[in-house]
């Protein structure tokens, strides 16, 4: 066999390219933006201010109000995704694997996944036309009303990315061996019982994974809101989420000067929110989920 020394050298060789790219384009920018958040670079030179920018973010009445507003909106954005995508995705995955569709399974699977491959700008534009009070199908200004604007945008995004949880659940359902299902059928179980008592427990771990992926994805969300409502998403910041709040701080808006330090601070806070929740999920929840051996 190969000697251990060579083994490690080869291991390093194989890992190196990915590691270099990852460090250069993911780890380094991340750390540098965290670093940025500890400095005040106004007036040409940077001075170290410790947690000064964080204190400013949370104590300045304007920035803190906008931050909490964006965070609450982001939670709503996430919950709408989760509560609509999961059940609908499950329903469609169950229908696709039920055997009722016969040969059109492939067609439906493709059709349902296509929106996920569209550009978010196209999705936003299409939906904006469909619900436009002037030329669309509803007269109510869904996007112009503070109460309905965020749910409307969330549902557009749900429509687009429905295919992703669907595919996760679909593959999990396909992976269930036929003999288990057949055995239960012989034991006298109906379709309903088979689904809830046999199939559902077997795909349950997928829900945890989908939840956490949706969480990460929605808290990094930016594009659909920006495409529809720009960097100061109205009305009255009712569709502002953390991504757009960050963009506004970092790149500025209208006549406002870009504030790189505040932007770095906001980015670090978003990173912390995602990191803490994701880590907690993996340590606490994922390990307790019951995986059945087949």
């Amino acid at each position: 066999m190969i000697r251990t020394g060579t083994r490690y050298r080869m291991l390093a060789l194989f890992v190196a390219p990915a590691l270099v790219v990852y460090v250069a384009f993911a780890v380094y920018p991340l750390l540098s933006s965290v670093g940025m958040s500890f400095f005040d670079s106004g007036g040409g030179d940077s001075t170290f201010v410790g947690f000064g920018n964080y204190v400013e973010l949370f104590t300045n009445p304007t920035t803190s109000e906008r931050f909490w507003n964006a965070l609450v909106n982001n939670v709503e954005f996430f919950l709408i995704h989760l509560l609509v995508e999961l059940p609908v995705g499950l329903l469609i995955a169950a229908l696709l694997t039920s055997g009722r569709l016969r040969r059109s399974v492939g067609l439906y699977r493709t059709l349902l996944f296509i929106p996920a491959t569209l550009s978010v700008v196209i999705v936003g534009f299409l939906w904006r036309l469909i619900i436009n009070p002037l030329w669309g199908i509803v007269e109510f200004p869904l996007l112009g009303n503070e109460a309905t604007a965020l749910p409307t945008i969330s549902l557009m995004s749900v429509w687009q990315y429905l295919g992703i949880p669907m595919v996760f659940l679909y593959t999990a359902l396909l992976a269930i061996p036929d003999d288990v299902v057949e055995a239960s059928r012989i034991d006298g179980a109906g379709a309903w019982t088979i689904f809830w008592r046999i199939k559902f427990p077997l795909i349950a771990p997928q829900f945890g994974l989908i939840t956490i992926l949706t969480y990460i994805w929605t808290f990094n969300g930016f594009d659909i809101v920006y495409a529809l409502n720009g960097s100061a998403p109205g009305p009255n910041y009712s569709t502002d989420i953390l991504g757009t709040f960050f963009y506004r701080s970092f790149f500025g808006s209208s006549g406002q000067v870009a504030d790189l330090d505040l932007g770095g601070t906001v980015a670090s806070v978003i990173f912390a929110i995602i990191l803490v929740t994701t880590a907690a999920y993996f340590w606490v929840l994922q390990r307790r989920l019951k995986t059945y051996e087949l």
Binding site: G43, G44, N60, P61, T62, T63, R128, I131, N132, P133, L134, E139, F140, P141, L142, L143, G144, N145, E146, N229, G230, S231, A232, G234, P235, N236, Y237, F250, F251, G252, S253, S254, G255, Q256, V257, A258, L260
Partner: protein, 424 residues
């Protein structure tokens, strides 16, 4: 294994070598031409600059070549800041008006242009948007945009309407269109806060707060947004609420332009930059400015300084760049520029003629009117909360949720008081 990969590796190295050689060849060029780079946010004008304006400059200035290097407008500020900090900024930088530029001046990005002949061909009001605190000019003004009310002449003829000369007449015209019921009186939606502010409030308001008097009064602290003049300006803005299309809360800027160009609306409040767009469907369109409250009162016209060029203090080709900036002050450039780009107006003292009739009509709005800039872009938006962004938000709330002019101005003044100390 090694031997099988060898030819591939050789090929890769050879391709890389060739590529690098190509770069080197492209980079050298002949010794006696100087290349200057223009940094701008006008990606949409690239063809015009490259085909018409730059050749005209290069023809009269042999030995200098100009490269047009646009950055998307949303990323422009951050891009220029990081380029200059990194020492790779363009030789000539397009200047944002007011606060952004002032911060760039403070950072030392620009050289003073006080010695430049081109600067003396502009009136003081034109230079104001790009001056340092001490009044030193840092940029050569290139173009401004105007705000106006486009109107569909066919609808005006059909309903027997006249261009209004007072605010009361304006509302009468809108009432007449509304009563007739065939057309939407005002093509205006509130989905985009910026355009409520820029095209409506900053256009109809100055007649009430007396243009620059009011604007500069806010800056030096002698006036407040809660003063009767400003409340009146916001009230005039609010009085147009009854003439909007159905579902206006989610009608965006593009929708309202379309509503007007399809001939379904009588009047469109918009900027001069839309001239080509509003006439694209062959409509016969005229334009009028926001009328004053009573006949014979001073009329105020919004003119927003939009583009100017400054000299990168760390640039390597300052001499050539200065020649280019001098050329921007000549009538030759201005005549060429404003006619290639209808909807943008020369800010120089020399009169310029416009081939586009609607552009000429727009330029004529400046006659007899006091010019004024957009209310909140100078100094008042350099802190948290920025007044301009707040006005977008509050203007939306006035139209969508019935916020009163008094409440709106009180809220804005409160936000401003929380950080702004008048320049004095």
């Amino acid at each position: 294994m090694r031997s099988r990969l060898a030819p591939l590796a050789t090929l890769a190295v050879a391709a890389l070598g060739l590529g690098l050689a190509g770069c080197a060849a492209g980079g050298s060029g002949d010794g006696d031409t100087t290349k200057i780079v223009l940094g701008t946010w006008r990606t949409e004008d690239a063809a015009m600059w490259e085909n018409d304006i730059i050749p005209a400059f290069e023809k009269s200035h042999p030995g200098i070549t100009v490269e047009y290097a646009p950055v998307d407008t949303n990323d422009y500020n951050a891009a220029i800041q990081s380029q200059i900090e990194g020492g790779t900024g363009p030789d000539v930088i397009m200047c944002r008006p007011f606060d952004v530029n002032r911060s760039w001046i403070e950072q030392g990005y620009f050289d003073s242009l006080a010695e430049l002949d081109a600067v003396s061909t502009f009136p003081e009001t034109a230079l104001a948007a790009w001056e340092g605190d001490d009044g030193t000019p840092y940029c050569v003004p290139v173009a401004s945009v105007l705000a106006g009310f486009y109107y569909n002449t066919a609808i005006f003829d059909e309903l027997g309407l006249e261009v209004p000369t007072t605010q009361a007449e304006f509302l009468d015209v809108l009432d007449a269109v509304k009563e007739d019921g065939t057309y939407t009186p005002l093509a205006l939606g509130s989905a985009d806060g910026w355009q409520l502010a820029y095209n409506m409030l900053y256009q109809v308001g100055p007649n009430a707060w007396h243009g620059e008097d009011g604007r500069l009064g806010l800056i030096d602290g002698t006036k407040k947004l809660t003063d009767p003049d400003f409340v009146e300006g916001f009230r005039v803005f609010d009085s147009f609420k009854d003439y909007l299309p159905k579902g206006y809360e989610s009608i965006s800027y593009e929708d309202m332009t379309q509503l007007f160009t399809l001939g379904q609306a009588a009047i469109l409040p918009d900027g001069s930059w839309q001239i080509s767009q509003v006439t694209s469907t062959g409509l016969d369109v005229g334009v009028f400015g926001a009328p004053p409250a009573a006949a014979g009162e001073q009329r105020y016209q919004q003119e927003m300084a939009d583009m100017a060029f400054g000299l990168n203090a760390a640039g390597k080709q300052k001499e050539a760049a200065t020649e280019f900036l001098e050329w921007l002050g000549t009538p030759e450039f201005q005549q060429l520029y404003v006619n290639k780009l209808p909807g943008f107006f020369s800010m120089g003292s020399e009169p310029v003629s416009y081939d586009n009739p609607l552009a000429q009509e727009f330029a004529d709005l400046k006659e007899g009117a006091e010019l004024t800039s957009r209310l909140a872009l100078d100094r008042l938006s350099a802190g948290q909360p920025p007044l301009d962004d707040e006005i977008w938000r509050v203007a939306q709330l006035m139209y969508n949720s019935g916020l009163s002019p008094e409440e709106a101005t009180a809220e804005l003044q409160k936000g401003l008081d929380s950080w702004y100390t008048p320049a004095g």
